[in-house]
Structure formats: structure tokens, C-alpha cells
């Protein structure tokens, strides 16, 4: 196995063009496990840790640009205010050691439906920045995942960053695991509210993401549309009153209905659907409570 260590992004892209089968590695929290378990034997590893550009946090227009090699620990420490949903999800990743090494870029590269960042990226309409010697393109998160551990990334492309709108309303993330820390998601759910619309101008007032309950991370589009319509038609954004329980209940059912779970070693399909309805209901309650408190403070 070759170990390629480019010093710059340009060198990294050239290496990837030359050796498309080379597996990029940053924190190694996924790749090394696969190698240790002998489930993967790449010809080459492409170490991105020397490429400074990939560890940068910046902004581009109204969006934050977060380098693919920024660790979960940095997201928690540096971006908790702008990206509260992603920070919450990052806190549920592995152990402190894993959070120090693991990256969202790695989550995207692995494209496992159980990756903790995916539901938030979906709920926030994040864009995945993919680069190659041919150029750079932006892929909406919703169009990035193709199947379990498969994405639309071309063989010569590297994930260089993701772009994501800073929160303009409350966000939540909740994940089910069968122990209270250091656990892979049995299922997870992310919710974002955008009372004034999205920074890029597109997308609705409600964002959702479902993890580990389908072949790919999923959006609960029906649930988003239902809730957005309910909030708008009843003037709830303006009145800021408590949500009727019928609304939170139906929202939960629609989220559960959007999932496509299976029975596996971590949990049953029936449990995943049930748990998603509960998580959707609860996270909606928490975000709506935050919104109401915020609205009152502004008034």
C-alpha cells in the first residue's frame, strides 16, 4: 500500500487524478477501522493532513465554508453559534479522541447512512464542494448520497469543503443509540427552522434530515411542507403560540413515514420508525420553544 502525502491542494488533486483508487484519509476514524478489520485493502492512501487549505474555516457570500479536514472538536468549539445543529451532531460523534480526529469531510467521503453529520447537512441545505484537476463543483447535500457508502463523487474528485448557511433560527439534532455515549446511530433526526427564509434565498422555512433509517440519509419533505404550511396558514410564526399537539403529532408521523429502515443488528425497522416519530415531535417542541423565547426577547 502506497502512502501519498501531498503538501498542497494542487498536489492532492493531481495525486487523486493520477491514482483515482487512492483512498483519502484525514482523521482515519473510518478508513483505519476498515483497514484494521481487513474489509478494505486500498492500493494507496492519500493523506490530506498536510494540506492546510482543507483545515480552514471561512465564508463565501452568505455561506460559511468549512474545510473538509476541520475536526468535529473544532466545529463544537468554533462554530457552535453559527452551526448549532451541526455542533449538536458533532457532540454525539464517538469519543473525545474520535472528535479530535474525525471530520465532516470523512463523514461525506464514507457516505454511510449512519454518519452523524448528514442529517444536519440535509436540514441546512448544505453544499458539498468537490474539486478535481478539472475544476470545482458544488453538490447539494440532498443530491450527494447515492446508496449505502456510495456518493456522486467522481473517482478523481476530493471533497474540499462544505458550504452551509449560518443558523437564522433554532436547530436541533437527536440520535438514538443503545448506550449513552460512543455509539453508532440506530437512527437520528435533525431539524432546522428558518423563520425569515434561507440565506441563499432558496429552500423552505423548515429543514429536516433523517440518519440511519434508509439506504441513504433522507429528507422528510412531506413533513417539511406540512409544517411550513401549518405555521404559515395559522400565523404561528407571528403569534408565537404553542404548537397544537395535532401538528407535532402529524409532523412526527410524516417523518417516520419518510424513513425507509430495515431490521439489522442495531435495531428493528419498527423501532426506528417509532423512535423517529418521537424524536421529530420532541425536536420540534424544543426548536419551537426556542423560537418563541427568541421572538419574545426581540419583541
Amino acid at each position: 500500500m502506497d502512502f501519498l502525502r501531498p503538501a498542497t491542494l494542487q498536489q492532492a488533486l493531481e495525486a487523486k487524478a493520477e491514482r483515482p483508487a487512492a483512498v483519502p484519509i484525514a482523521g482515519g476514524t473510518d478508513v483505519m477501522v476498515e483497514i484494521n478489520f481487513d474489509t478494505r485493502r486500498p492500493d494507496a492512501l492519500l493523506d490530506l493532513n498536510q494540506v492546510a487549505e482543507l483545515a480552514e474555516i471561512g465564508s463565501d457570500g452568505g455561506l460559511l465554508r468549512v474545510g473538509a479536514c476541520v475536526s468535529y472538536a473544532r466545529i463544537i468549539g468554533e462554530l457552535g453559534r453559527e452551526l448549532p445543529g451541526l455542533a449538536l451532531a458533532s457532540r454525539t460523534v464517538g469519543s473525545p479522541q474520535i472528535r479530535n480526529r474525525g471530520t465532516v469531510g470523512g463523514n461525506l467521503g464514507a457516505a454511510s447512512p449512519a454518519g452523524d453529520a448528514h442529517p444536519v447537512l440535509l436540514a441546512c441545505d448544505a453544499l458539498v464542494e468537490a474539486a478535481s484537476v478539472r475544476g470545482t463543483r458544488l453538490i447539494p447535500a440532498a443530491g450527494f448520497y447515492q446508496g449505502p457508502k456510495r456518493s456522486v463523487l467522481a473517482p478523481d474528485e476530493l471533497i474540499t469543503a462544505f458550504r452551509i448557511g449560518p443558523a437564522m433560527g433554532p436547530q436541533q439534532f437527536a440520535k438514538i443509540g443503545t448506550r449513552n455515549a460512543m455509539v453508532i446511530a440506530v437512527c437520528s433526526f435533525a431539524l432546522s427552522l428558518w423563520p425569515q427564509g434561507r440565506p441563499a434565498g432558496t429552500g423552505g422555512t423548515i429543514g429536516t434530515g433523517i440518519g440511519s433509517a434508509g439506504p441513504v440519509p433522507l429528507r422528510a419533505t412531506d413533513a417539511e411542507e406540512f409544517l411550513a404550511a401549518e405555521l404559515a396558514s395559522a400565523g404561528l410564526w407571528e403569534s408565537g403560540v404553542a404548537l397544537p399537539s395535532t401538528v407535532t403529532h402529524t409532523f412526527g408521523e410524516l417523518v417516520a413515514g419518510a424513513a425507509r429502515p430495515i431490521d439489522d443488528v442495531r435495531g428493528t425497522a419498527a423501532y426506528r420508525r417509532h423512535a423517529l416519530s418521537v424524536l421529530a415531535r420532541r425536536t420540534l417542541g424544543w426548536t419551537w420553544d426556542s423560537y418563541r423565547k427568541g421572538a419574545r426577547q426581540c419583541a
Binding site: 449538536l88 449513552n180 455515549a181 435495531g267 419498527a270 420508525r273
Partner: protein, 771 residues
């Protein structure tokens, strides 16, 4: 520490690291800093690497085996199969029924079929890939109760019952006013030690072999390895390497014979290290159990009878199933007085992974069932669950269902009172709580919604040391001599330090008995007699007893020298490095009496036990009984089925806390392992195949799962045991599981008859086939 201390024996030394003190572990710093050398760290220049080809099928006939391509691989030094085993082709702790390498058939997924040695682990892996095995797959027998049916296929020629233990006491037709019955299931728990199976075999010039390995019983390994190699035992020399946890999983052989075969064949040192995934196939697990119980009681709650039928899934090979079955049976009604008992316990063969020793050893499975029954009975009678237990609690002088009289402290009622009398942790309140204290923890699944608190109790009983007439002994050599003019003691045994603190304890005993500070515990190896197994909570008792006895003989030699030098002083002792007269104080430095070293080797036995009558299960089968009680306080997210254990209180009688800090560590660790069984730890096996052989999917508790503990350590001396001590390691593992499940039942009102309890069980969202 609370309770009374009535240690026997002399306290000759003011040492700060003697018996009864929290002497520090010599390996603590190395282990915390990552410097400790485990067996997987062994290294010898010129060594080559062994690897094992395992069956992918739980049951298959081997039609052919072609090793030619593997042998031709450059860098591959040897490929060995069943035909290359020079001695006995099978091994086993109680029945030698497990092939060193499979011959005509495989009986479980992961059974070793061939081994290779190569110049690099990667070469070895490639060589394994070049071995061609043709199998004819057969339908595996995977249901332990189906294995009992006469039409069931036979896993071994002798039939599928490994052992049937019957306990018959009193009136088999006794009737009672209140009867409760239930069927309970215990899943397959793994010991989940962190140091995988590993060792280094070095061929010796005499044609023998030196093996460095992490194990629990050096001499049992040697007996089996020598038989399989066809060598006399003295040509197989085993030294204990650094052990990264054991919990029963190192009682059976793993890579021992394989590495020695490869070393003797190639003439080179051979190292073998299992990967984490392979480790799940490389050792036995805790027996899954199905337990049917019927309890009959009078209106006042006094138990009138218990009838029980226990089936233990032993998997493909016998391992220690016969002894596990005996424990489940003899301890099967718990620490209660019951006049009429009819209990049947059968361990059976299936094509599931082999099961054998794990901390608690049969007592764990039974305790989950009988404690669940006690709660059910209490509910039926409208009695407090603690009160019902206290009314039936055994005590010193009680008679076991085997007819054995309990002849030392059995403070069952007191332990229950201790845990139930403790103040409760503050009630859950509000929705602003730190989520780390809530079910789901940092996964942020609740801010208080759906959370209900529950409280539950459990108490268990465990035997200490080996039972049923087994000749159980340990050997110790103690040598007192001068190092740099100062008196120092060497202590040598073959007893395995598996992390429990035995090395520390041996030093404490020598310091106390000989009045010296300098003690060197010599590495454990087979150049001395057997120390017996580091299991059955027996090493403090057995090797502690042997070291003390050897120290006593050495001390007597010193005193004899003293009496010769100082005639007229009959009341002599050694203390603080001096020879002391009761009348005149210090007479001489110990060093002055050690021109010649003083040395003694002692083989020490506990008092004898008896076999069980095969028809009635009557007999004084056990050496000592030990008890622990738990109270569990849990918060359950009743909507999501997630559990946070808020507090665990434990009361345990240890006879004498030889090292209080080590005692607390054992109670914490044992309790955590019981928590794991209650909530998450299960090897999931479908169709004979393991579905979760990794620490990604075999979950063990983290610091956020294991709550703070409140401990009550009683020291009620057992007059039959050295220093009055009682084995510590296993009892806390036994009772924490039922206490936690009882607390979840209290919070949810659900029956919960299976462990581990999964979120699906609490939310009613099990798989379709269970519906």
C-alpha cells in the same frame, strides 16, 4: 469500610502495604501510561507469525483440504492441518472434545481448520487465502431446547446433553397458596477483554517448547498443550505474559497449541495475535439460557417450593459446561431458605459458538430468573420486594437445596437492609437537566420528556473456589534472603495475575507475615507447582493461603534460628525487619539471621468438598458462599426505551478486605459487567452465525452508562478461610443485572423477561417474527 474485622493470624509488621491496606499496584503507572507490555507486545528477533484459518460455516462436512498453493507462497514457512497434530487431536477443560484443528467436520462458525506460519502477518493472511477447503454445508442445530428432542441431529456422538444436574429436596408435590411462574431468557454475553488472545512460542534445544502467553491457568494449559504435542509435560514450559483482562475467557485454550505446533515445525519462534474480530471467535462466551421457574409461597410470603428447569446453550464443545451447569443448579434458587426444591439444569450441545466460563459462571443466569420471580411474588402478595426477600433470606446455619449447611456468615438480610436503607438520589426534576444525566445522554434524545424513575433490588449467591470434590490447590515458594544486606522476600507461584491484583496481594501477605518491606513477586511460570485457575473468585483464598502458609514456614525457620541465638526467649516474632522478643523488644536485625536464606514451598488446599449425588443433587459441594446485593435507581425514557442508570448501591460481605481499594475496584467492575448484561451486551447469533463481532456493535458500558456507586463492604470473617477472607470478584456481577431490570420494570410496568433489555422490548417494536 464498615463492619467488623476479625482477621486471624499475626500482624507482625507496621508496614504500610500489608494485609488490609490499599497497597498500590506495581503495574498501575505502566498501564495508565500505555507502557505495560501485554502478551500482544511480545517480540523476539527472528520470530515469524502464525495465523488461523477458520470455518465460515456453523456446521459442515469437510470434503477436502488443499494446502499446496499456500505452501508455495514465498515467505510462508508452514501450513498445518489436523493430520499434523502429533499427539492427542482434541483438547478441553473437562471433556477433551474440541479438535486442535478440525478433521472431517466443523461444528461452529470460526472453528480452526488450518494454521500457517509466515515471515509477516500479511504473508500469513495471504497464505490463509490460498488454502482451499471444500465444505458441504449442513443445517446447523441452533436452538438449545430443540437439541433436547430425540429427533434432533447429534452435534457429538454421545448425544446433545453435556450434563443434566438434578436437585431434589423435600416434597416434590408440595402445594402453596400463591404460585407464580415465568420463563426467562439470558442472551450470550462476551467477556469483552481488551487484550486479544496472543502469545509467543519458542522452540527449545531439548525438543520442547517455551510458551509465553496470557492465560488464567498455566498448568491446565500445559497439560493440554503437552498432550496435543505428544510431549512430556516438562518439555512444555509456560510463562505468563501480560494479561489484558480475562473474566473466564482465557480458561480454554486459544492459540496455545497452534503456536507451539508451528514453532516446533519451523524451528522458529512463532507469535500469534488475534484481531478483535477473530477474538470474538477465539474464546468461549457466557451460556445463553432459557429458565422456567415456578415459585410457591404461603400468604405471609414464606417460600414453600421452587421448581425450575434451566437449559444452557453450551454451543459446539463442552468447555466448562458441566461446572457451569452445576453452579446454575446448586445456586439456582438463590440465597433463600426453601424447604422443597425440584430443579433440573441441562447444558446442551448446539452448533452455536462454544460457551464456557465467564464471571458469575452459571449463577448469573439463575439469579436473573429467581430474582425476577421474587419480584413477581412480592407483587402478587402486595409485599415490598425487600421485605419478601428478608423473610426468606438464608443465614449462617441455613441448609442449601443440596443439603449443605452454610457454616459461615451469610448476611443476606443485612445486605438487603444496607442497600435499601440508603438515602435515594435526588428525584429527577425539570427539563433543564444536564443531558448527560438523562437517558440517551449526549445523544440529546430527551430533555425530560417520557422519563420515569424506577427502583429495583437484586441479591445473589456465588460459590468460591472449585467444587464437587475437585482437588483444588495452589503452590507457593517463599524465600527470605539478603539483597544488598537488607532482608528481602521472593514469592513465586504459578497463579495468573489477570488484572485482579494478585501480585499486589502476594506482596502484602509476605510483608505482613515476614515483617519485611522488600518483596519481589517472581513472574508466574510452570517451573513451580500449579497455582490453580484465576477463576471462581479463588486466588486470594487459594494462592493467598499458599503464600501465607509458605511465609509461616519461613518465619518459623527464622524464629528457630532466633531461639538458637537467644536461648530463653520463647515468645519471638519478626517485625519491622527485626527479631523481636515479647519481653525484651528487638533482639537482632533480621539480616543477622539470614546468612543462609530461609525458604519454603507449600502446596495448600482448601477443605474438601463432595460430589453431587447424580439423582438428588445432594452433597457438600462448595467450599464457601459469597453474597452481594444491589439497589438500582434508573430513569427510563418510556417512549424511546432508553435507560440511564442513575445510581447503583451495593453491599457485599468480603470476610476481610485484604486490599480495600482492590475490593472496591472489583465491585465497581463486576457491577458494570452486570449492567452490560442488563442493558446492552449480547453476541447476536442467527443461524449459528455471529452478527456483531466488533466493539462497534458489541457494546460495553461507558462512563456515561455506569453511574456512581455507593458501597457497603462488610468484613464478617469466615473462620475456614485465610485471614477470614471471602472471594470478591464474582458476586457483584450476579446481582446488578436483576436489580437494574427490576428498576426498569418498576418504571414501565412491563414484564421484561429477557436480558439484555433492548429499546424494542420497552417500546413494543420488536422484529416481525417476535410479534
Amino acid at each position: 469500610m464498615t463492619g467488623t474485622s476479625t482477621a486471624t493470624g499475626p500482624r507482625t509488621s507496621p508496614t504500610t502495604s500489608g494485609v488490609g491496606q490499599s497497597a498500590g499496584r506495581p503495574d498501575a503507572r505502566q498501564k495508565v501510561t500505555g507502557e505495560f507490555a501485554y502478551s500482544s507486545d511480545l517480540w523476539l528477533d527472528g520470530m515469524i507469525w502464525g495465523a488461523t484459518l477458520r470455518s465460515p460455516h456453523p456446521r459442515a462436512v469437510i470434503d477436502g483440504l488443499d494446502i499446496g498453493a499456500a505452501l508455495r507462497l514465498p515467505g510462508c514457512h508452514a501450513v498445518l492441518t489436523h493430520d499434523d497434530v502429533p499427539g492427542r487431536k482434541v483438547y478441553g477443560l473437562e471433556h477433551a472434545d474440541q479438535p486442535v484443528l478440525a478433521s472431517d467436520q466443523v461444528r461452529y462458525q470460526g472453528e480452526p481448520v488450518a494454521i500457517v506460519a509466515a515471515d509477516h502477518p500479511e504473508t500469513a493472511r495471504r497464505a490463509l487465502g490460498k488454502i482451499k477447503v471444500s465444505y458441504t454445508e449442513l443445517e446447523p442445530l441452533t436452538d438449545a431446547r430443540a437439541a433436547l428432542e430425540t429427533a434432533a441431529p447429534r452435534v457429538h456422538d454421545g448425544g446433545n446433553v453435556v450434563r443434566h444436574v438434578k436437585i431434589r429436596k423435600g416434597d416434590p408435590a408440595a402445594v402453596a397458596e400463591l404460585v407464580v411462574s415465568g420463563e426467562y431468557q439470558v442472551g450470550m454475553q462476551d467477556q469483552a477483554f481488551l487484550g486479544p488472545e496472543s502469545g509467543l512460542a519458542v522452540p527449545a534445544e531439548d525438543g520442547g517448547v517455551d510458551l509465553f502467553v496470557a492465560t488464567q491457568w498455566l498448568h491446565a494449559d500445559r497439560t493440554q498443550v503437552a498432550a496435543c504435542l505428544g510431549l512430556p509435560e516438562d518439555m512444555v514450559r509456560i510463562t505468563l505474559a501480560g494479561v489484558g483482562g480475562a473474566f473466564g475467557a482465557r480458561e480454554d485454550l486459544s492459540m496455545q497449541v497452534h503456536a507451539c505446533l508451528l514453532a516446533l515445525r519451523t524451528g522458529k519462534p512463532v507469535k500469534m495475535v488475534y484481531s478483535r474480530e477473530e477474538s470474538f471467535f477465539g474464546h468461549v462466551h457466557r451460556h445463553p439460557a432459557t429458565l422456567h421457574y415456578e415459585h410457591g409461597a404461603a400468604a405471609d410470603g414464606k417460600l414453600i417450593y421452587v421448581r425450575a428447569d434451566i437449559v444452557l446453550d453450551g454451543g459446539a464443545y463442552a468447555s466448562s459446561s458441566t461446572a457451569v451447569a452445576a453452579n446454575a443448579a446448586t445456586l439456582g434458587i438463590g440465597p433463600y431458605e426453601v424447604p422443597n426444591v425440584r430443579l433440573d439444569c441441562r447444558a446442551v450441545y448446539t452448533n452455536n459458538p462454544p460457551c464456557g466460563a465467564m464471571r458469575g459462571f452459571g449463577a448469573v443466569q439463575a439469579c436473573f430468573a429467581y430474582e425476577s420471580q421474587m419480584d413477581k411474588l412480592a407483587a402478587g402478595l402486595g409485599l415490598d420486594p425487600v421485605e419478601l426477600r428478608v423473610r426468606n433470606a438464608m443465614h449462617e446455619g441455613s441448609v442449601m437445596p443440596t443439603g449443605q449447611v452454610v457454616d459461615s456468615a451469610a448476611p443476606v438480610a443485612e445486605l438487603l437492609r444496607r442497600v435499601s436503607g440508603r438515602p435515594l438520589p435526588p428525584a429527577a426534576a425539570g427539563t433543564d437537566r444536564d443531558i448527560r444525566g438523562l437517558p440517551g445522554g449526549v445523544s440529546n434524545t430527551t430533555h425530560g420528556e417520557g422519563v420515569v424513575r424506577g427502583i429495583g433490588y437484586g441479591i445473589g449467591i456465588k460459590n468460591v473456589c472449585f467444587s464437587e470434590g475437585f482437588d483444588d490447590y495452589s503452590t507457593a515458594r517463599v524465600r527470605l534472603h539478603l539483597i544488598g544486606g537488607e532482608p528481602a522476600a521472593d514469592v513465586h507461584t504459578a497463579a495468573a495475575e489477570v488484572g485482579q491484583g494478585l501480585v499486589t496481594l502476594q506482596g502484602q501477605i509476605a510483608r505482613t507475615e515476614l515483617g519485611v518491606e522488600q518483596v519481589r513477586v517472581v513472574p508466574a511460570d510452570t517451573s513451580i507447582g500449579s497455582g490453580g485457575s484465576s477463576s471462581a473468585s479463588r486466588q486470594s483464598y487459594m494462592t493467598g493461603g499458599a503464600v501465607r502458609a509458605a511465609c509461616e514456614q519461613v518465619r518459623e525457620q527464622i524464629l528457630e534460628r532466633g531461639r538458637g541465638l537467644f536461648p530463653g526467649h520463647e515468645d519471638l516474632s519478626v517485625s519491622g525487619g527485626k527479631l523481636v522478643s515479647a519481653r525484651d523488644g528487638a533482639l537482632a536485625a533480621l539480616a543477622d539471621l539470614l546468612a543462609e536464606p530461609a525458604e519454603a514451598t507449600v502446596t495448600w488446599r482448601h477443605r474438601g468438598t463432595s460430589p453431587l449425588d447424580p439423582q438428588t443433587g445432594q452433597g457438600d459441594a462448595h467450599v464457601q458462599y459469597a453474597f452481594a446485593a444491589h439497589r438500582a435507581v434508573v430513569d427510563v425514557d418510556t417512549e424511546l426505551g432508553l435507560v440511564k442508570v442513575i445510581e447503583l448501591a451495593c453491599a457485599q460481605d468480603v470476610g476481610r478486605a485484604m486490599n480495600p481499594q482492590a475490593v472496591e475496584g472489583q465491585i465497581h467492575g463486576g457491577t458494570a459487567q452486570g449492567l452490560g448484561l442488563a442493558l446492552m451486551e449480547e453476541i447476536q447469533v442467527t443461524g449459528g452465525k455471529v452478527r456483531n463481532p466488533s466493539f462497534t456493535d458489541y457494546l460495553i458500558p461507558t462512563i456515561l452508562d455506569m453511574p456512581p456507586m455507593k458501597l457497603d463492604v462488610l468484613e464478617l470473617a469466615d473462620p475456614h478461610a485465610p485471614y477470614g477472607l471471602r472471594g470478591v470478584g464474582e458476586p457483584p456481577t450476579i446481582s446488578s443485572t436483576p436489580a437494574i431490570v427490576a428498576a426498569i420494570r418498576a418504571a414501565t410496568g412491563l414484564a421484561l423477561t429477557r436480558v439484555p433489555v433492548r429499546p424494542e422490548h420497552i417500546t413494543g417494536t420488536g422484529p416481525e417474527r417476535d410479534a
